[in-house]
């Protein structure tokens, strides 16, 4: 019996590859947008503007304080209620961007805060503008603190894309869910799904560990 199901699974493997492709696509777009927004928010969060700092603080508290699945439901069900129509794919990307940028923001702010105030003052004293201070003096140093946890966060974000299956986007987990209805071999189907996720996230975990060791040495 298992052999029979296994051969059926082999038959429909392109279906899984499509899911893997979709997961990779969502993950890639999300990581890029999350990083961009996260860096900007992180700069606000560590900055001197109290109002911006507070606003970002509330945003981060919401993102970190509620489950991602609830955030997806809010984006997917409530925005249309408010007149913003989104297909599942865009809603997924939007939810990922909101969630991921909140987490990355904290990592970036932590990195910037780890740089001593004297570095800002030295850069300011020689006449660099605020943007130049950040770009030329602060960020290059902060990157060493930011990079290892950032890559670690990327792994978490890639895994979180699985939750997007709840609004019907045909990514890897959704493919597994649809398949298991037709081929009732849960262990086999989700092992396969798991192996495919593993192939994306494990190299990144190794990279994160490597970066952490390397930065610790410096």
């Amino acid at each position: 019996m298992m052999g029979f199901y296994f051969s059926r699974l082999v038959e429909i493997y392109p279906f899984f590859l499509k899911g893997l492709w979709m997961t990779s696509k969502i993950a890639f777009i999300s990581l890029v947008t999350c990083t961009l927004i996260g860096v900007i928010l992180g700069i606000f969060r560590s900055g001197n503007n109290i109002i911006l700092k507070r606003i970002v603080g509330v945003y981060v508290a919401f993102v970190r304080g509620t489950p991602f699945v609830v955030q997806i439901f809010i984006v997917f069900f409530i925005l249309p209620d408010w007149g913003i129509q989104l297909d599942a794919f865009s809603a997924a990307l939007l939810a990922m961007a909101i969630m991921g940028s909140g987490f990355i923001c904290e990592i970036v702010a932590g990195g910037i805060d780890s740089i001593s105030k004297g570095q800002w003052e030295a850069a300011a004293s020689s006449g660099l503008t605020l943007t130049q201070q950040l770009r030329l003096v602060i960020m290059p140093q902060a990157m060493k603190v930011i990079l290892p946890p950032l890559v670690g966060q990327y792994v978490l974000l890639i895994k979180d894309t699985s939750v997007i299956s709840v609004i019907g986007v045909m990514e890897l987990t959704r493919v597994g869910w649809v398949t298991v209805v037709r081929i009732p071999e849960g262990l086999m189907v989700f092992s396969l799904v798991g192996v495919l996720y593993f192939s994306i996230s494990y190299p990144l975990i190794l990279l994160s560990n490597y970066l952490e060791r390397k930065m610790a040495v410096q």
Binding site: P67, V69, F190
Partner: protein, 222 residues
Amino acid sequence: MLVDFNFRIIFEYLPLFLTGLRSTFFISLVSISLALVTGVIACACRISGIKILKYPAIAFIEIIRSTPLLVQIYFLYFGLPTLGLRVPEIQTGIIALMLNSGAYIAEIIRAGITSVDQGQLEAGTASGLNYIQRMRFIILPQALGVTVPPLLGQSIVLVKDSALLSLISVMELTRCGQTMTSERFMPAEAFFTVAFFYMCIYFCLKALADWSQRKLIFREAY
């Protein structure tokens, strides 16, 4: 938008939400306790130096950490019945949360143990303590303090992770939101209420984690 936010309906559903909240509490509490046990065992195996224990522990930790929790939940939910095991959804969910958080906790504890200064171990060895005694009297008391803040962080993660059990129809907080949405189609009221309750739990645990972190910094300063 928020102008026509219907508070009456929230009050009407409040008993349901409170049951959900209780269920989320229960699931989280049981799962984190079991995960702590799992984590300690997995960590002990990993650092034991005995190959037959070490490699399975490493495999377990790495597999869990590189696959999504939702896939792990589905793996058990759809997989256990094919093995002929009929397990209620809530127990399936708790097992998944236990294994998932257990793997992360194992790494937290390991980081705590490696953070203890090597000289401490040597001092212990020099005064003639054996392995178990060194662990018990020197390493663990010091490691324990360091692990408290990240363990509380992990419990924050676990509470939020328990929301995924709604997808295998466990009646917890998020599932209540889904129920209310399907009965009345008021997703804003439903999910903002759900979010509110999660935020309350989050702030309590966060305050606790920050407090333990401060205590720790204070202790290290002296």
